[in-house]
């Protein structure tokens, strides 16, 4: 035994005698993780979160979260001698007087954008492959929680520097709070410590941004990962992959090396972006004052859809009994996002109820094999895309010399018309792809080789696809539609008849599928 081994043995012995960790580790160090590029999306989110923690701690050492007025006298000459808040001045300080400070600020901001992008991409992967199905509904809900908190955390983060752009964002947030019926003005006064802008808001959101929310994030991410660990990862269908097993590489060493290496790659990419691409150059915006604004004010991308919704809202306001209800703020700012996020959170339960599917699922769906779900996803994406584009309607107008009124009207119509179109088109595409799968299994792959038959006819040679491929294309379930008895023979109506009729109709729509190829089909072909 080498001396290094001996030393490691001593340490391991010391720890194990006090914790009994060896037994647990023995089992878990060889835990199997399936491999697929799309499983890295969640990893990107996790790693950018770690980068956010590291760079965020650095930033807190210099950032002064105070709205106290100071006279700027730092290295950035154009703002020298200007009155501003200590928060803004210290952000300038980090950017110009602290070595590496600007780099850390920019890594922090790029990592935040990447964090949200990775969460959204991961969410889409989980949605379109049906990974949220039983037993993973809890993790889906935690994920939706992380997405929601991520949006809030990002907004609070870029609001901290108290520059003209972010101050305008806070002003808008205040208007949304103030628009809440009955309690709005009170909530706003409590949040801001009095009238807007006051001197309390930035110190308060600083605490929320660096302590409260990161703490909740850590707890939720831990729970998210523990559930992945305990329930074992889902896997794509393929030869040898079943609902009863998990096929992949062991944690130690392969997965550790790949995942660990991938963390450094994500870090490298954010560092590169931060090195060469300036982001949120707050010194160009100037300090916040309520009387000024810069044209082309844009939030970060993950808030863009919300801003786009607000921009396209019709200008409705009700005045009832000496009270005002601002539908132009409530609908796009609270009601629509509330419906979207609640619907998202409940989706696994809705789908399971509609399909009456109570089984465990560990094999992922190929999106084409769940046409309705895929179409619903495409529909939601179309909705978000239109709102996101409308969030930049002013920039589109100036860049392409178009009328802002026309763009806004296009968005208003588009946001209602395009999602249903996306649904229908996607569903048809899925069914076409299923037809193509069926064709491939039955007749093989087109080779592009033409053959001249003795009687002069030309045919294209088809080559049978591999057994493994044929299995992937035919392994999925095609359950029959649900049927409900609405009345028994004596004419007594079944309880919840209307609800069950709805379920039966939805179920019939859900099972519209191209029949999967069975063994008998292939035999029939052989007979011909």
């Amino acid at each position: 035994m080498s001396s290094a081994e001996k030393r490691a043995g001593t340490v391991a012995n010391y720890v194990d005698e006090r914790t009994g960790a060896a037994k647990w580790l023995k089992k878990n160090l060889t835990k199997v993780f399936p491999d697929h590029w799309s499983f890295m999306l969640g990893e990107v989110a996790l790693y950018s979160f770690i980068i956010l923690l590291l760079t965020g701690v650095f930033l807190t050492f210099w950032f002064d979260p105070s709205q106290r007025e100071v006279l700027y006298q730092g290295a950035y000459q154009p703002l020298s001698g200007i009155k501003m808040s200590a928060a803004y001045a210290s952000t300038l300080n980090i950017s110009f007087d602290v070595r590496g400070g600007l780099l850390m600020r920019q890594i922090h901001h790029w990592a935040a954008l990447l964090f949200m992008a990775a969460i959204v991409a991961h969410l889409m992967r989980v949605f379109f492959t049906g990974a949220f199905r039983k037993p993973r509904e809890f993790n889906w809900i935690i994920g939706i929680g992380l997405l929601t908190l991520g949006i809030v955390e990002g907004f609070l983060g870029y609001s901290l520097p108290d520059d003209l752009l972010s101050g305008t964002g806070i002003r808008i947030a205040e208007a949304i709070i103030q628009a809440i019926p009955v309690v709005g003005s009170y909530l706003s006064f409590f949040a801001f410590g009095g009238p807007f802008p006051g001197e309390s808001f930035i110190p308060r959101i600083f605490t929320v941004h660096v302590l409260l929310l990161p703490g909740i994030f850590l707890a939720l991410i831990t729970a998210h990962l523990m559930l992945v660990w305990y329930q074992k990862h889902t896997q794509y269908p393929g030869p040898g992959r079943t609902e009863k097993n998990v096929v992949g590489y062991p944690l130690m060493p392969v997965y550790m090396a790949k995942a660990g290496g991938f963390f450094f790659i994500v870090f490298g990419v954010t560092a590169f972006l931060a090195a060469v691409a300036s982001i949120n150059p707050i010194w160009l915006y100037g300090p916040y004052t309520p009387t000024q604004i810069s044209a082309g004010s844009q939030p970060d991308w993950y808030m863009g859809w919300l801003d786009g919704l607000v921009r396209m809202a019709p200008n409705l306001e009700s005045h009832i009994f000496n009270h005002t209800i601002s539908w132009n703020i409530l609908i796009p700012g609270l009601i629509v996002p509330g419906i979207l996020f609640t619907g998202m959170a409940l989706y696994p339960f809705i789908e399971s109820w509609l399909t009456n599917d109570k089984r465990e699922h560990h094999l992922l769906d190929r999106p084409r094999n769940a046409p309705n779900r895929t179409a619903l996803g495409a529909m939601s994406l179309a909705f978000i895309l239109v709102t996101l584009l409308n969030g930049g309607n002013d920039l589109i107008a100036t860049h392409f010399a178009l009328s802002i009124n026309q763009i806004t009207w296009m968005s208003r119509i588009g946001v209602l018309v395009l999602p249903p179109i996306a649904f229908v088109v996607t569903k048809r595409l899925c069914l076409s792809l299923q037809r193509h799968d069926r064709d491939l299994v039955l007749h093989g792959r087109e080779t592009g080789r033409l053959q001249l038959l003795p009687h002069g006819e030309f045919v294209e040679v088809h080559e049978p696809i591999s057994e493994a491929k044929a299995w992937v294309l035919t392994q999925h379930d095609q359950p029959p539609a649900l049927e409900f008895v609405t009345e028994d023979e004596a004419g007594v109506k079944a309880p919840r008849g209307a609800l069950n009729r709805l379920r039966a109709r939805m179920s019939a729509a859900t099972v519209e599928q191209i029949p999967r190829v069975e063994g008998n089909d292939l035999k029939e072909i052989e007979h011909h």
Binding site: A175, F190, P197, A257, G268, A275, A295, W471, L522
Partner: protein
């Protein structure tokens, strides 16, 4: 179905294909060297990082194509960090892909549902323990504990009361009063009608009384835009027309939608545009909303001139400025 369904069969895991490094020691040695080179490149990146921190002056700027003028120290610190981290990652992954075992392993899954006996035992345990505690038999304890817990967990809400004062009438008031002079911002100078040419726009604030200081809270409500057009272009009610002075009309600069500064004035069309959500207000028609999400016109401030010829407010705003709120009556 009459026809018996016969599914295609799962061919099972494909055979493992050996990589070059698995069978050829020379290829393995080469892969080892490649990994080592990647890790060494990371060291060079760290050296670049340290060197940039110590020796590149913070005041040097470089021109980057498409990115513009860039601080050299920040740039090379960043590039150093990029190389330092990226090459560790590439090295580790190359190592895993070429030299670590690539045999796929199969692990079994088990249903999460506990066995029937365990579930029954669990229910029994809960029942027995709850009975032992007498929760069912002693409702008095259960109820008082419920009330106590409910109250104690609601009480922190009380402590949050001091987060801020109550709004009272604050949202409806500004610093504008009868006779308040309009002063320029910046400059704080009183302003005469002749200071504004036709087509001009200016931001004004209420003149401060001595011993008053202007806070951002005031600015957020007091900011007013003066716009001068030709008097015959107004399309106003007689009352509103009397609030203007020689073609000068005054509006609150705070958007009635979400409170942004309505800062864009288009001289040709005489429209005010809010850059946040693109609400458009038509100046000659008392800032009527002609497009966008804003529901109300910008409040108009009645102005006139005092005996010295300086512009003053005839009276306070006749309605609250800024975004709507529940208590707003119109």
């Amino acid at each position: 179905m009459s026809k018996e369904i016969e599914r295609l069969s799962d061919p099972g895991l494909p055979d493992h294909v050996h990589r070059k490094a698995d069978v050829d020691p020379r290829a393995a040695k080469k892969a080892e060297r490649q990994v080592a080179i990647l890790f060494s490149l990371s060291v060079i990146g760290t050296l670049l990082f340290v060197g940039s921190y110590l020796w590149i002056p913070a005041t040097t700027f470089l021109f980057l194509p498409a990115m513009g003028s860039t601080n050299a120290q920040q740039l090379f610190l960043g590039l150093g960090l990029t190389l330092a981290t990226l090459f560790i990652g590439l090295g580790a992954i190359h190592w895993a892909k070429t030299l670590m075992p690539d045999n796929e392993v199969i692990a079994e899954r088990h249903e999460f549902r506990s066995e029937e006996k365990d579930r029954q035992d669990f229910v029994d345990t809960v029942k027995t323990q709850a009975a032992a505690a007498g929760l069912g038999r002693r409702p008095l304890i259960k109820r008082t504990l419920g009330i106590a817990l409910g109250l104690v967990s609601a009480s922190p809400l009380l402590l949050l009361r001091d987060l801020g004062p109550l709004p009272k009438k604050s949202l409806e008031q500004t610093s504008w009063e009868k006779g308040t002079r309009l002063v320029t911002d910046p400059g704080n100078l009183p302003i005469k009608a002749s200071d504004l040419e036709v087509g001009a726009v200016a931001q004004v604030l209420p003149e401060l009384k001595s011993n008053q200081e202007r806070t951002l809270n005031n600015l957020a409500k007091d900011a007013v835009l003066l716009i001068r057009i030709r008097p015959e272009e107004f399309e106003l009610s007689p009352e509103r027309l009397s609030w203007t002075h020689e073609g000068i009309i005054a509006f609150s600069k705070i958007c009635t939608h979400m409170g942004c500064a309505v800062a864009l004035y288009e001289q040709q069309t005489k429209h005010l545009l809010c850059p946040c959500h693109q609400s458009k207000f038509d100046v000659p028609r008392a800032a009527k909303v002609i497009f966008g999400p804003a529901a109300r016109p910008l409040p108009q401030l009645a102005i006139t001139v005092d005996s010295d010829g300086y512009l003053i407010a005839q009276k306070p705003f006749s309605e609250p400025v800024g975004p709507s709120f529940w208590e707003r009556s119109s």
